[in-house]
């Protein structure tokens, strides 16, 4: 951990005794690499940059042909329109953002509260057919949402959960619990069971031992897992568009998509709403960037 990649592959000795030919070929390759990476980055980043640009362009510049890359007039009107309705009240988009915050937050909380103890139990106890159970839990994630959305729609209509925030919260929690269990099981496995054994001999009950001695060690793992669940719920589109219809309930992804499709599309507003929508995800992804690779692949399935 203490040794960074730079230290580990220190170029020091190589620089002292360079082999001229190898050096030239090495530099040639790195120039090619750099060029390819720049091209790739441009392709990957262009939509994001264009979105960012459109969100701060005046409408005149947004629709300009040929498109204006650099000399456009900067305005924050679109961002104002995201939150404020033309009549000065609260805009429908701002309501949908609030809905997204509530739905993503509560469903993540629910998934964490249910998933962490389950992960602990699967890690610590000898459960009958543990592997089969865990596989079953994982298998609920195999099917894409689109496959199950029709039956869920029908069931929700029966029980009156259609077009309600609670319905979305429940379905997102149901999708996030398996993920939470699998990812948290990896983190719990890393904490030696002996801490709890020792605590129980000290005189604590099993639950106290978990709460006082194991849980504090799991906090970083819980945070990372919760952020993943949060991002999933925040981004989710298919269930949201099928199961909600009114502006009061609709979350941001279908609401933003709903901006497109009239006779004229207010691209400035779409871009500004998309920027606002993407920001929390970028911030959270930055917070858990170490786990984005290691957490998902290693932490969840090791052992």
């Amino acid at each position: 951990m203490a040794v960074s990649v730079d230290e580990a592959v220190s170029p020091g000795p190589v620089r002292d005794h360079p082999a001229p030919t190898r050096r030239r070929s090495g530099r040639g390759r790195s120039v090619l690499e750099l060029a390819l990476l720049v091209v790739l980055a441009a392709v990957m980043l262009f939509p994001a940059l264009w979105m960012l640009e459109t969100s701060i362009k005046e409408n005149r510049d947004v629709y300009a042909i040929p498109a204006k890359f650099f000399d456009f007039t900067v305005t924050l009107d679109h961002f104002r329109d995201v939150f404020v309705a033309p009549d000065g009240g609260r805009s429908a988009l701002s309501v949908s953002f609030l809905n997204s915050v509530v739905v993503a937050g509560v469903s993540t909380l629910l998934a964490t509260v249910l998933g962490v103890p389950a992960a602990w139990a699967y890690s610590r106890f000898s459960v009958k057919a543990k592997k089969d159970q865990l596989f079953f839990i994982l298998s609920t994630r195999f099917m894409p949402p689109v496959v199950v959305v029709i039956p869920i729609f029908l069931m929700y209509r029966q029980v009156g959960l259609i077009d309600s925030k609670l319905g979305l919260i429940l379905i997102y929690a149901a999708f996030n619990v398996p993920f939470t269990i699998w990812m948290m099981k990896g983190f719990v496995d890393e904490v030696p069971a002996e801490y709890e054994d020792a605590a129980m001999l000290d005189g604590y009950t099993r639950l106290q031992a978990f709460r006082k001695f194991t849980l504090p060690l799991l906090v970083p793992g819980i945070a990372a897992t919760a952020v993943f669940a949060l991002i999933f719920s925040w981004n989710e589109f298919v269930f949201a568009i099928f199961l909600t219809s009114s502006d009061e309930v609709r979350t941001a992804p279908p609401a933003i998509a709903g901006l497109i499709g009239g006779t004229t599309v207010d691209w400035g507003l779409v871009a500004a709403a998309s920027v606002v929508f993407a920001l929390p995800v970028l911030v959270f992804a930055y917070l858990v960037r170490k786990h984005l690779v290691a957490g998902v692949t290693l932490g969840a399935v090791r052992r």
Binding site: A198, A199, D202, Q208, L217
Partner: protein
């Protein structure tokens, strides 16, 4: 009071039978060592007594009362784990105080108890450190202090010295014996190190493959092993076992040698036997009437003595000799046997046939 009794403990993990009817009776105040090779079920036995392992069958009695279904907390035992299991986020002080906090002692009581323990174990300087800032020996002392800080029915120790270096291990051996004497408490101590068992124990239980092979004092276990496994596990260098059978007044080896038949054995003629000979009961230097012909196979100088490997046919005998002994490989020599101290085992059942006559 602090008696620990386990009766017919059975436990399997998947298809492995870890405990196969383990029965132990630990008297009050004794230093009771459970000795066995790794995988014998020692730790599982200890964890079953502590209440950390759910048993398939069997019962645990503490102070004569059935505690089989009790939680670990209710059993009022203290345990030292092999890897110490110190709480990583807490200071040494908080680790030692933990059993008292769990039992809601007042902070002045806790402070006094922690102070008493830290001076007993010489860890006063370490109290504000976290486990990551402690060396292996220091962690071991803190773990010991956490167990000793209250007065439970009995102390359970799971190979507490295994992870220490040799010098520290010898030191701690003496110290643990001293602590045991001064507390007068019951210790159940698990180890795979026979030196620890022989030097510290009042009673030794030799465990193998989930079964108790023998229970006795260290001397009994060493001098009168109940079977060939106990004989083979206890003693260093290990006992040499030679295949043979009795024939009239002689023992005839499978490798062709003959020895006078020991007076004490009652084995009938022709039964397949194993002759067990400890290194210190053999000699390449003295002459005696009972001797085996062999050739020098190797020398292992150990400082205070040299172990001579002598090949008799295809079997190797370990012989203890003075450190000055010399020889060349392949040299013919006679190994004198002290037959009064030899052991005979039934080759089939492994059971000792020596007990009766002694």
């Amino acid at each position: 009071m602090g008696t620990v009794a386990a009766h017919g403990l059975r436990k399997s993990f998947d298809k492995v039978q870890a405990l196969d009817g383990v029965t132990l009776d630990v008297p009050d105040g004794s230093f009771f060592v459970v000795l066995g090779p790794s995988g014998a079920g020692k730790t599982t036995t200890l964890r079953a007594i502590a209440g950390l392992e759910k048993l398939d069958a069997g019962s645990v009695h503490l102070d004569g009362r059935d505690a089989t279904g009790d939680t670990p907390a209710a059993r009022d035992l203290a345990m030292v784990f092999q890897n110490y299991a110190l709480y990583p986020r807490r200071t040494a002080y908080e680790n030692i105080a933990s059993p008292l906090r769990a039992r809601r002692c007042s902070s002045s009581e806790i402070a006094a108890a922690v102070e008493r323990m830290s001076s007993l174990l010489h860890i006063e300087r370490l109290l504000q450190r976290r486990p990551a800032q402690l060396s292996g020996g220091e962690m071991q002392r803190v773990a010991l202090a956490r167990a000793l800080v209250r007065s439970p029915r009995a102390f359970l120790m799971d190979e507490p010295l295994t992870n220490l270096d040799l010098k520290l291990r010898v030191e701690m051996r003496t110290e643990l014996t001293r602590i045991h004497r001064s507390l007068g408490a019951t210790f159940v101590y698990v180890t795979n190190d026979q030196v620890e068992a022989l030097s510290m124990a009042d009673q030794v239980a030799v465990l193998q493959e989930g079964k108790v092979q023998q229970v006795g004092t260290p001397t009994e276990v060493y001098e009168r092993p109940a079977n060939r496994w106990v004989a083979g596990f206890v003693g260093s260098p290990p006992i040499s076992l030679l295949a043979c059978h009795a024939e009239g007044d002689r023992l005839v080896g499978a490798q062709g040698w003959t020895l006078p038949r020991p007076r004490w054995t009652t084995a009938e003629d022709g039964r397949a036997l194993l002759l067990g000979l400890r290194a210190e009961d053999l000699s390449v230097e003295q002459r005696g009437d009972a001797s085996l012909p062999g050739e020098l196979y190797g020398l292992e100088p150990l400082g205070d003595r040299t172990v001579v490997d002598v090949r008799v046919g295809t079997e190797i005998l370990k012989v203890k000799a003075r450190p000055t002994v010399t020889g060349t490989q392949g040299e013919r020599l006679q190994v004198t046997v002290d037959l009064d101290r030899a052991h005979l085992f039934d080759a089939g059942t492994g059971r000792s046939l020596s007990q009766a006559g002694r």
